[in-house]
Symmetry: D3
Subunit: 185 residues, 6 copies
Amino acid sequence: MWAYEKRLQYPINIRKKNLKMAKLLVTQYGGSNGELAAALRYLNQRYTMPDDKGRALLTDIGTEELAHVEMIGTMISQLMAGATIEEIKEAGLDSHYAEHKNALYPTDANGVPFTAAYFATTGDAIADLTEDIAAEQKARAVYENLINLTDDPDLLGPLLWLRQREIIHFNRFSELLDEYKRKGY
Amino acid sequence: MWAYEKRLQYPINIRKKNLKMAKLLVTQYGGSNGELAAALRYLNQRYTMPDDKGRALLTDIGTEELAHVEMIGTMISQLMAGATIEEIKEAGLDSHYAEHKNALYPTDANGVPFTAAYFATTGDAIADLTEDIAAEQKARAVYENLINLTDDPDLLGPLLWLRQREIIHFNRFSELLDEYKRKGY
Amino acid sequence: MWAYEKRLQYPINIRKKNLKMAKLLVTQYGGSNGELAAALRYLNQRYTMPDDKGRALLTDIGTEELAHVEMIGTMISQLMAGATIEEIKEAGLDSHYAEHKNALYPTDANGVPFTAAYFATTGDAIADLTEDIAAEQKARAVYENLINLTDDPDLLGPLLWLRQREIIHFNRFSELLDEYKRKGY
Amino acid sequence: MWAYEKRLQYPINIRKKNLKMAKLLVTQYGGSNGELAAALRYLNQRYTMPDDKGRALLTDIGTEELAHVEMIGTMISQLMAGATIEEIKEAGLDSHYAEHKNALYPTDANGVPFTAAYFATTGDAIADLTEDIAAEQKARAVYENLINLTDDPDLLGPLLWLRQREIIHFNRFSELLDEYKRKGY
Amino acid sequence: MWAYEKRLQYPINIRKKNLKMAKLLVTQYGGSNGELAAALRYLNQRYTMPDDKGRALLTDIGTEELAHVEMIGTMISQLMAGATIEEIKEAGLDSHYAEHKNALYPTDANGVPFTAAYFATTGDAIADLTEDIAAEQKARAVYENLINLTDDPDLLGPLLWLRQREIIHFNRFSELLDEYKRKGY
Amino acid sequence: MWAYEKRLQYPINIRKKNLKMAKLLVTQYGGSNGELAAALRYLNQRYTMPDDKGRALLTDIGTEELAHVEMIGTMISQLMAGATIEEIKEAGLDSHYAEHKNALYPTDANGVPFTAAYFATTGDAIADLTEDIAAEQKARAVYENLINLTDDPDLLGPLLWLRQREIIHFNRFSELLDEYKRKGY
C-alpha cells in the first residue's frame, strides 16, 4: 500500500500561464508514452518478476512514476491557472473546457482517453524489462520534444529533471535485464 | 508523492487455486467500476476541488483505492498460483495465458483493456462528487456480484471488507457533497 | 417501439453560422456526458428496474434524451450551414470536413468516437439511479460550460432549456431513488 | 422527436431460458453490425441527405432500428430470465454477471463496448447510401449466423422476421440510391 | 507473401511544405475510410471468398491498397519535411510533434489511433463485397474532400489518381458481386 | 510498393482441426504483440530512420512481418476448416461465428479489435529501435506461450520457425541500435 506525502518529488512553480503547453504536456499525463502508462506498466509487471530484487525495483520505480504523474498534473494545473474564456478559446483548449472545464483528465495531446493498450505485461521477465527499457527511451524522447516546444525556465526545470529520471530508470532496468540474462531467466 | 509500504491494506491469503474467479475478479482491477478507475477518478478530480478539505479527501480516498488495486492484484495472483496449462485451458484462461502468461493486466472480465473513458472529471465539485458517490455504489454492486460467485472464505473475507470500504467512501463523499451544496459551490 | 414526430422538442432556429461552437457542441452529441450516452444509459437500465414505475421513468426520460440528441444535432447542423471551405479551415473544423464533410457524427469535442464505455448498467437499481443522478449533474455542468462559451441568444435559448431539463431529470431520479431506498431495493 | 409506444414492433415471447444464446444475440444489440449501429448510422446521415425523401427514409428506417434494438434487448432479457448463478457460470455468462448482473449493456458478443467507429457518415449521399446497403447486408449475414446457432422456434420467429426487415431496408436504400444516381447527386 | 519494390505506385513529389494538409491527409492513412482500413479489410476477407477469382481480386486490390498507404505516408512526410518548431505550432501540429516528432503514425485527422473496428468481415461473400463497394465509395468521398481542401498541384495529382483508383476498385468489386449473385452465393 | 507472391514464407499444412487453438492464435494476428502490430510499427517508423540502412532494415522486416500475418491467418483458417456448428459452440468460438462466421478478423485472443495504440513511433531512432527490440521480445514470449498450449506438430513447426524469426529480427535491430548509438544519433 501507499502513504501519501504532501509534497511533490520535485518542486513545481510555474508563474506564466501557458495554455498551449498545458494542452501538449498532457501527453506525459495520459498519453501512450506518459507517466501513467509507465506507473501502471511497472506496478503490474512486478507480480511476475522472478525474484525480490526485481519486484522491489519495479515497485520502486512504479511508485516514483506515480509521483511524476502528480508532477505533470501540477504543471498542467499551474499552466492553466486563472485563464479566461477568451484565452482558453485562443489556445484551442475550448474543447477541453467544454468537457472538463479546468479539471485534469488523462488523455494524449489530441484528447484521446488513456488506455491500457499502451503497455504490455508478458509474464516473461526478459520481455517485460526490454519493454520497460523501451518505455523509458520513448518517455525520454517525448520529454525532449516538450523541451523543444517551450523556453519557459519554470517549465524547463522540471522537464529536464524528469527527462533525467527516465535515463536513470533506463539504466536501472538495463542492469537488471543484464543480470537476469546472466542468470538465465 | 507516495511512499510504498510493503504490506497490504488488508491481508490476502488465498489457499485454494481458482482460475475462474481470477478471470472474474479482474473486473475490479481494470474494469469500468473497478479500483483503478476509482483511484484515477479521485486523484484527477482533486485538483479542482474548491477547498483543502475536498482536495484532502479525494487524495486520501484516491490513495486508498491504489491500495485496493494492489489487494485485487494480489488476490488474482494467488488464485492463479501454480496453475497447470491444463487447468488454465479448462478455466477458459487460455486467452489470457497466450498474451500475458500468468502476469496481471488491467482489463474488465472480458479482457477489454482499461480505458479512462470509464470515469469523468468536470471541474464542477458538485458534479464530480455525485459521480464519486455513483462510482462507490457501482463498485459496491460489483463486489456483491463477486461475493455471489464464490463461497471460498479466503476470498469472501477481503471482498466483504472491500465492499464495506466502498460504503464508507460513499458516506464520506455524501457528507462532503452536502457541505458543498450548503456552501453554494 | 417509437413513433417519430416531425418536430423538435424545443424549437431551434440559429441564424448565425458559428463553426467553433459547432465543434464544441458535439460533446453533448457524442461525448462522455452527452445526450446519446444519457439516452442509451436509461434505455438499457430500464430492463432491470424493480417495478413498473422505474421502468416507465427510465423509458420516458430515455426517450426524451433521444429528442435532445436530435436537438443538438439540429443545432450543430444550423451552426455549420453554408460554411465555406475557408471558414471551415479557419475554425479548425477541417479535420471534421476531411472525414465527414458537413455530416454529423457522434464524437466528443476532440473527435473521439462515442463509446458505450461512457455509461454503466449494474442491474442494481440503487447503483443505476445514483449513476443516473450523476449523469444529469455532469450534463448540467457541460451545458454550463457551453453557455459560458457563447453569447448568441439563438444558442443560449435551447442550451438553457436543455440545462433545465437535466435538473428536472435529476429531481425525478432523486425522488425514485429515495422511494427505492425506503422500499429496501 | 419520438413518442414511445408501449409495445414491441414484433412480439417476443421466449419460454426457454438460454444463456448461451443471450451471450451471442448481444452482437445484434451492441456489435459492429448490430441494430444500435444501424439506428445511429441512419439517424446521423439523414441530416445531409439531399432531399426530403432521403431525410424521411433515413428517419423512418433509423426509427425502426431503434425498435429492433428494443426487440433484441427484450429477447436477451427473456433468455436470461430466472437464471441461477450456477447456470450463469456454466454458460460462460459469469463475466457479464460480475459487471452487469442481469442488466443489458451494448457490446459485441465478446463483451467489447459499442463504439461509433462501427459506422460512417460522409456527407455524400451516394457514399452514405452505399454504406447503408452494406450495413443491411452485414446485418442479414449476422442474423443468418444466429439462426444457424439455435433451433428454438420462439427465437427463430423474431430472428427470421428481423432478417426479413433488413432485406426490405436493403431494397428501399437501393431504390433511393438508384434514384439519386439518376439525379446526379 | 510480399516482395517490396523500391518505388511508389505513383510518383510523389511535393515541393511545398504544408503542415495543415499533412494533418488532414492522415485520415487516408489511418482513418476510418482510409487506405490501411481498406488494405486490411480485403486481405482479411479474401480467406472466405468462395472461389479463386474472388480470392485473387481481394489479394490484388488489398496489395494495391498497401501501396496507397505508402503513397499517403510519403505525401505526409514530404508535406512536413523541414518544418520548424514555429511552423509546427502555427499549423496545430504541435500535439503530433509532442508525441511523434516528425514520424508517421496511423490515426484519423483528429489523432484517434487506427482501429480494426472500422471494417468488417462476415464470411458471407455478398455482404463482404457490398461492404467493399461501400468502402470504395467512402474513400472516394474523402478524397474529394481533401481535393477541395488544397490547390497545390503536387498534391492534387496523386489525390486525383488515388480517387480514380477507388472508382476502378468499386467497378471491379461491383462486377464480382454481380457474378456472385448470379451464381447464387 | 509491394508485389504479391502466391506462396507463404514458410509452408503451413495443418491437418487437424483445432478451434481452441484458432481462438488463441489470433493474438499473433491482431493482438498487442502480434504480427500486424509489428508490420505497421516498422513500416511507419522507417520514414524517420536517419539513414538508408535503417530505412531498408525496417522496410525489409516490416515486409516480412506482413508475410507472418499471412502465415498466422492461414494457420487460423486451416484450424477452423470444416468445423460444424456444434464444434464451434463447444470450442467457445460461437461469439466469433455469430459475427464473422468463419472469416478472419484481427483481434486479440479475447476478441478486442486491433488498435494502433499497441505500437509507438517517436521520430527518435534510438527510442524506436529500442521499442522494436522490445516488440520482438514480446512476440517471442507470446510464441512460447502458444507453443506451450499445443502439441500438434503441424502447428509447432511454423510456431517454432516464427519464434526463431523474432530472435533474428531482435538481433538485427540490436546491431543497428548499437551502430546508431556509436554514431551518436
